[in-house]
């Protein structure tokens, strides 16, 4: 197994995949992190922004749809990640492992 690990680590396609996958997961993590901390910082520094009614005369204030949006966004992004990881990334990984194993046996 150690031997295979070394072969895969030396494979440029593996690093190409890892760059792509890494960029994608850090991008999504960054979106969630920024959205959540913007939400927290508005509450800490400018709570009056969330106290404004969405439509004049309505009870619903901006804080509520924004809060629900953070929840829905988190869920949707996990869906996006799972979809891409379970199809594209898993296929690419399998291809790399298979061709390294084949080269190894040849």
């Amino acid at each position: 197994m150690q031997h295979l690990y070394k072969r895969i680590y030396a494979d440029p396609e593996f690093h190409e995949l890892e760059r792509k996958r890494g960029r994608f997961s850090w991008l999504l993590a960054g979106i969630v992190f920024l959205t959540y901390f913007s939400f927290i910082l508005v509450i800490a520094f400018a709570p009056q922004l969330f106290a404004k009614p969405v439509v004049a005369g309505m009870m619903m204030t901006w804080g509520i749809p924004v809060g629900v949006f953070v929840i829905v966004l988190s869920f949707c992004l996990t869906g996006v990640y799972v979809y891409r990881a379970n199809t594209e990334f898993d296929h690419l990984t399998r291809d790399i492992v298979e061709h390294v194993q084949k080269d190894d046996n040849a």
Partner: protein, 562 residues
């Protein structure tokens, strides 16, 4: 050997049958005593529904016990759980009575502010998925310490991880046990000590006999019941409001003593440092909870691990939206309703945390109140079982098998040690639940999250992402994170002022995570950088193999191909 095994199984089965038969008797015997001395009426509907739950789950435990033989069965349900099942079980493990009753109570008391906690509890999940879940699944076997010690030295790393695990588990357990005792006192009219003992005995039974398989199914059933119950309350509330949020919010504002303030952020997070610190603890604490991380080893591969987070995030997010509606519904339907108002305090009976429970009676009558009471009890049972299993695995798998026995241990011996650890933790939890009866335990979950975010998360995260991390760095930095979190909490406003009665806090903030996480990360980075030892260099080289395995799943536990 064979004879010994069957005898062992037989005695286990007998004990279970014995207990199954005996349990209702025990409960009713205590009722009879209880009925005369307490003010609270014994709630027969609630008790029968709870007994139905207990009977069903003990039946499952009996089924699971027959399938739980190896360490992999005991810690990881044989790796046989599907993504959807695990997603439900994660939701069942995570949605504690504190979230259900606590957050709806918070919304009931201060409106919008409750949503801040809900969101904090949710946003850790995408982070777990994007950064940790699949690497953890590919590297580890039964505990998150497996992944951290993949290339680092097992003895110091597992000792530290076991401390982090046990600290989180015990703090969480105390909070759940005390909560359970008080809740059952109110809901079922049973005595506090009796309730704590029942919870303790049931969790010991589930975990000792049925291991992870029984724990998983208890959590799945509880998650389904809780989601159904909360959906029913929320829909009933919206039905009474003509499915109009305008009517719901307008009636709530009109009736609530704080008026329009309940529609906007209030005093819950006042200064920016506390706000950020709380945010960090909620987000990264979730990613360091050992009983949650352990769930990723119950699925066959990284693919299912990913799916389980997707489902879990959906269920948990949906549940938190419901708690928000439930909290507002409680304002409209309970305040000014003499049936639920305690004339002595002017608030609702049993305090704000009982809002969801009273509301269930207001919208669904006695029978539904019984159902929700039973669900609340089931919720506690599912959470404490997950915690106990996680604590037991830290003792048996990390400390006993790896640190003491250096991995030279028979399967049967390790399972036996984990069963004994389960019983010890269970008894200890009952004992702590009784000791802490009169104490304020609300801060304990907060401290558990701070420790998880400052010990478990940094070492796990850096072991996967930073090649230069060394054993020395992880050990020193993780320990500093642990000590900082505990000291900041002791000398902060919650313990130093509110509990110990001092005038001024030594450490001014309620939430230590910003400081303890920074202390952990900085010291791990500095100590690792300064570590010029040969083992440190070897660990950096070993990162390459670990990296390939974590990304491809090649050689991972339970992998079917290769």
């Amino acid at each position: 050997m064979f004879k010994k095994m069957t005898m062992h199984n037989l005695s286990r089965r007998h004990l279970l049958i014995l207990f199954l038969g005996f349990f209702p008797l025990l409960l009713f015997a205590a009722d009879a005593i209880q009925g005369e001395v307490t003010r609270q009426p014994v709630n027969i509907t609630a008790i029968s529904m709870f007994l139905a739950f207990v009977t069903a789950t003990l039946g499952i435990t009996y089924w699971a016990a027959k399938r739980t033989k190896s360490t992999k069965d005991f810690y990881a349900a044989g790796g046989s759980i599907t993504g959807l099942q695990n997603g439900l079980a994660i939701a069942g493990d995570f949605m504690s009575a504190a979230s259900f009753l606590g957050i709806s109570g918070l919304v009931f008391a201060s409106g919008f502010d409750g949503l801040i906690y809900s969101i904090g509890f949710l946003v850790g999940w995408p982070i777990i998925l994007f950064l940790l879940a699949e690497r953890l699944r590919n590297l580890g076997k039964y505990t998150f310490a497996d992944a951290v010690s993949y290339r680092l030295q097992p003895i110091p790393i597992r000792s530290l991880a076991a401390c982090g695990t046990l600290a989180v588990v015990l703090l969480y357990l105390i909070a759940q046990m005390v909560g359970a005792g008080k809740l059952i006192q109110i809901l079922f009219g049973l005595e506090y000590h009796f309730a704590v003992v029942i919870v303790g005995i049931l969790m010991i039974m589930y975990v000792t006999f049925g291991g992870m398989l029984a724990t998983t199914w208890v959590q799945i059933i509880k998650a389904i019941l809780l989601l159904l119950g909360a959906s029913f309350i929320a829909i009933a509330v919206m039905y009474k409001m003509g499915f109009s949020f305008q009517t719901l919010f307008a009636s709530a504002v009109e009736i609530h003593s704080k008026g329009i303030e309940i529609m906007s952020p209030g005093g819950l997070v006042s200064d920016p440092v506390s706000a950020i610190s709380l945010g960090l603890a909620l987000m990264f604490g979730t990613a360091g909870l050992p009983h949650i991380l352990m769930r990723f080893f119950t699925v066959p591969d990284a693919r299912e691990a990913r799916k389980s987070v997707f489902y879990a995030t959906g269920f948990i997010g949906y549940f938190y939206v419901l708690t928000f509606i439930i909290g507002f519904g409680a304002i409209v339907l309970l305040v000014n309703n003499p049936e639920f108002i305690d004339p002595e305090t002017g608030g609702i009976f049993g305090g704000n945390n009982m809002a969801a429970v009273h509301l269930s009676k207001a919208v669904g009558g006695e029978v539904f109140l019984g159902f929700i009471s039973a669900v609340a009890f089931a919720t506690i049972l599912a959470v404490v079982s997950g915690l106990t299993l996680s604590g037991a695995s830290a003792i048996s798998h990390d400390l006993y098998a790896s640190v003491i026995k250096h991995g030279r241990i028979q399967e049967g011996e390790e399972v036996l040690v984990s069963r004994i650890s389960t019983v010890i933790i269970g008894i200890f939890a009952i004992f702590l639940g009784i000791i802490f009866e009169q104490q304020n335990v609300a801060y304990m979950v907060g401290l558990a999250f701070a420790i998880a975010a400052s010990v478990n998360f940094p070492i796990l995260f850096l072991s996967m992402y930073w090649q230069r991390l060394t054993t020395r760095g992880a050990f020193v930095g993780g320990s500093i994170g642990l000590i900082t979190a505990v000291l900041c909490m002791i000398f902060g406003p919650t313990i130093w002022v509110d509990i110990l009665g001092n005038a001024e806090p030594v450490f001014p903030y309620k939430h230590p995570a910003l400081f303890s996480m920074s202390a952990a990360f900085i010291s791990i980075l500095v100590v690792s950088k300064l570590d010029n030892s040969q083992t440190g260099k070897d660990e950096a080289v070993a990162f390459e193999d670990q990296y390939v395995r974590s990304q491809t799943g090649l050689g991972a536990e339970g992998a079917t191909s290769h």
